[in-house]
């Protein structure tokens, strides 16, 4: 009887070699181990024909053959699935995806937000005021009476009705000092205007100014605060230099230079080989300004600073014409606009 089982085995091997489709494999499953007329199933049924002493071995052989065939069919079937999968078209991960539509912040207001954040974290409040101002708030209160030569440096737009377009955000400082007693710790960001139009000037641009007034504010406080700012803004490796200067509203006054962020101070085209880049003006509030706004200069001291945002944007991105900032060319905004 074992010879019969061997024949079935040989026949199965031959069939398996021939059949390679899923249907063929299913056909083989029915043919050999099908419940009804499977050849192995039939062979089981002949167990009665086997002498009793051999029945145990015969049954075992039948079971082994059934197991062998089932395993072989499973293996062939999974082999076939794998081949099918490999042949199927796959996901092309290199296709260009649809991009999320994300708005960009104008680089100038983005820079302004960055600066605001640094000072807000230090506890400064953001103060605001009109862009159309009086001569008093823009000049006189800041110790620039009519006929002061320093007015030449801020060529002013005048409006009907005796008003003017603020040439700096300092009038916001004046308004704040007129409205609230010290201590004061504010920044004043916003649009300002000067009558200039060339490669390095636009008739409107953006500034952030700051003002701190309290008892015992020192020149060292001015230095420390602005050094903190330059480290946050341009990196901790940045060196800061304070150069004596003159503004009618501060005494002493200092221009603030940073070591050139492009060459680290070694000298390059951007810093005109000086190693330094001027980024803002600053100084201790002039006592005459305090007197103009009713703050006692014998009791209070303070410092103020102001920086142009546009120049820092030009510097950061290597733009050589300030006028481009207000053309709002989409190709520029998409390149250097800020993400939120």
């Amino acid at each position: 009887m074992n010879g019969q089982l061997n024949d079935i085995r040989a026949q199965f091997d031959a069939d398996l070699r021939a059949g390679t489709t899923a249907e063929a494999l299913e056909g083989l499953r029915v043919k050999y181990v099908g419940r009804k007329r499977g050849l192995v199933t039939e062979a089981f049924k002949h167990i009665g024909d086997v002498p009793p002493e051999e029945r145990g071995a015969y049954g075992k052989a039948c079971n082994e053959l059934k197991q062998f065939i089932s395993d072989a069919l499973d293996a062939a079937s999974s082999e076939l699935d794998k081949a099918e999968q490999e042949a199927a078209p796959t996901l092309d991960i290199t296709l260009p995806p649809p991009l999320p539509r994300i708005g960009r912040r104008h680089p100038v207001s983005d820079m302004m937000r960055r600066i605001e954040t640094i000072f807000v974290e230090l506890g400064y409040a953001i103060a605001d005021g009109p862009q159309i101002e009086s001569d008093f708030n823009n000049f006189e209160a800041l110790n620039m009476p009519p006929d002061h030569p320093a007015r030449d440096e801020q060529d002013t737009f005048y409006l009907q009705g005796g008003m003017l377009l603020r040439t700096h955000t300092s009038p916001v400082q004046i308004r704040t000092m007129l409205q609230q007693p010290p201590p004061i710790q504010i920044i004043c960001p916003g649009r300002v205007y000067r009558r200039d139009y060339d490669i390095t000037h636009t008739p409107m641009f953006f500034q952030v100014e700051g003002l701190v007034v309290d008892r015992g504010i020192t020149f060292g406080d001015l230095k420390g605060t602005l050094e903190y700012f330059t480290h946050r803004m341009f990196g901790p490796q940045t060196r800061t230099r304070f150069r004596p200067s003159f503004f009618p509203f501060t005494e002493p006054s200092a221009e603030v230079d940073i070591s050139c962020p492009f060459c680290g101070g070694g000298g390059c085209r951007v810093c005109k080989n000086s190693g330094w880049i001027e980024i803002m003006g600053s100084g201790m509030v002039d006592p005459a300004v305090f007197s103009n706004v009713g703050i006692d200069p014998d009791v209070y001291t303070g410092f103020a600073f102001g920086m142009g945002i546009d120049r820092q944007v030009l510097l950061l991105f290597g733009i050589d014409d300030q006028r481009m900032l207000y053309e709002n060319d989409m190709r520029m905004l998409e390149q250097i606009g800020g993400w939120r």
Binding site: L95, P96, P98, R101, G103, R104, R105, H106, V108, G123, A125, D128, P130, Q131, I132, D147, P149, A150, F157, Y158, L159, Q160, G161, M163, P183, I184, Q185, R191, D196, T202, P203, D214, I217, T218, F219, G220, K223, G224, T225, E227, R241, F242, R243, P244, S245, F246, E251, P252, S253, E255, P287, T301, Y326, E327, N328, D329, M330, L333, G337, R340
Partner: protein, 680 residues
Amino acid sequence: MKFSWEWICEHVKLEMEAAEAAELLSLRGLTVDEVISEAGDVVFDIDITTNRPDAMNHRGVARELAAITGTRLLPLERSFEERGGKAADHCRVEIVDAAGCHRFCARVIKGVTTGPSPDWMTRRLERVGMRSIDLLVDITNYVLWELGHPLHGYDLKLVPDGKIVVRRAERGERLKMIDGSEKVLDPDILVIADASRAIGVGGVMGGFDTEINPSTVDILLEGAYFEPVVNRRGARKLGLSTDASFRFERGADINGMVGAIERCCHLYEKLAGGQVLEGLVDQYPTRHEPVAVEMDHRRLCSFAGLEIPEQRVGEIAAALELGAELDRHTWRFDIPSFRVDLEREADLFEEIIRIVGFDNVPPTIPHVAIEPQDKLKLHQVIDAAEGVMLAAGYTEVLNYDFIDPEGNALFAPPGAGKPIKVLNPIAEPQMSIMRQSLAASLMSTIRHNFNRGVSGMRLFEIARVFFAAAGQPLERTILGMAADEPEPAPHWHSPRCPADFYEFKGVIETIFTRLGISDIIISEGTEEFLQPLVRAAVRRGDEVIGWFGRVADGPQAHFDLPHPLLLCQLDLGAVAGDAFPGRSFRRGSKFPSISRDLSFTVAPGTSFARVRGAIEGAGVDEIVEISLIDLYRGEATGGRTSLTVRVVYQSGERTLTQEEAEAFHGKVRDSLMLLGVEIR
């Protein structure tokens, strides 16, 4: 302002190279913008601030370097022999306007011979940017750049009787200047005159007729002090800014002029063979008293944030040529007449701290005990609106606040009044008024980009618009949005849809959701610059706070744009006060919801708002969501509008049964029937 290193070194002995001196000057007082090597010399380009007229000459810069390095100036040769008669016999000075001219000094030099200047003088003048003219003229220019005091020489024989009168000009008086221009004068202008006519504008420019010329033999040399404001007004009125007026309007050295005249006489005698007559003619009607300033040493140290030894202050004062005396804690400084910027204690703080060195003051961070305060409400609203715009894919632009009147007029809001005019615009008419709307600027931005091949833009700007008012003009903070509407951009995955009216509506509603303002009504618009069928107003109660829609043909053509544009403006300032009300959390139901769709048609002209109202008014509290999932309008529905609405029912207390949902839906259907819908 340019300075020759060689010339500076003639006034002070320095043990350093030019580059090092430039660095020191920059850090301690005068910013050297540029150091240029030039034929064996070095030229410094120094940015001298308006408060330091004393440093606008070589000896002044040398004095600064002496103070910084703790050395003293070298003496300057000014000697000459006085002979040949008294100057006063040849020159008489009368100051009529003593407020405009505080002091007038003169000397007479006879028998000069002109000719070319010596090479060293020509060279030095060229270094500072002056052209050599001839010896007699060059000498006064040389002394100007050496000592800073503007001097003027007259040809004595052309000034009748040597009579000088300092007065205001007569109205309509005429004067031919040395640059050849002819000026018409008026009483704002201070003139130097002879007995009958003006011969120069004081402290600004001399007259053509009396100037030193190649045939001049005798010179009347003027040194004077002109009051800064009078000088500045006169120069401005004439449209002149000269080396002389630049210095006088910043403040000249009222005593230093005498020494400058002496130096000039020395050079006339030595180089031009001149004979200096005896005596200085000196009219000094408006005397400047010596200035003394007190400074508290302790205040200095606490102001600087640095302990500065008293001895160091004494050294610095000496180096700056200040007389200094210390009484307990109080310094008393005598201020030399060339330092017109030192008047108050604060001025002295500056002097001491800058010479000590800003870099030697240790940095500190102040602790200012301010009450914590919220960001201004308007700024919070701007932040929120900006956040929504950026998240919705709109890019921020910044435009000038100036605009042309025609573009402005197209979009000016009703009742805007006349726009505010800029009296001295940078471009007329393009930038001649302050904008009353952001619309025209946004249109221009789109056109600018369109001309460069960009389309499908979504833009926004948050800025102010300006309206005239009695007193302070009105500034309103506005959000402007713009988008152009080209074809959808094809893409294999999903084509990009252009912005349209409903996208704008969605963005606007989202902004107000973000602001927590729920009583916004979007109703029919009336703006004439928008197309009548595609426009809307944004209202709160009776107040119109914004508008949006598609730009009408007129404005579109004005900006020469080929395809339609959407515009929107919202007055953020008008809602800022009510933004961000308190919010509270409502827990969502934990029971499942059931949704049912309903398809029906409505008569033309029935708005969705009415459909929605009918559903909400069906008396079913369990409605949690109503959405419009399909809309069709066309021939198949016989002109009626076909809608499919999905209504979601949910209870907060239990699971709804299918039967309950069916009953609710029936109520909704009944309510809609009252509106005249036909269920499909």
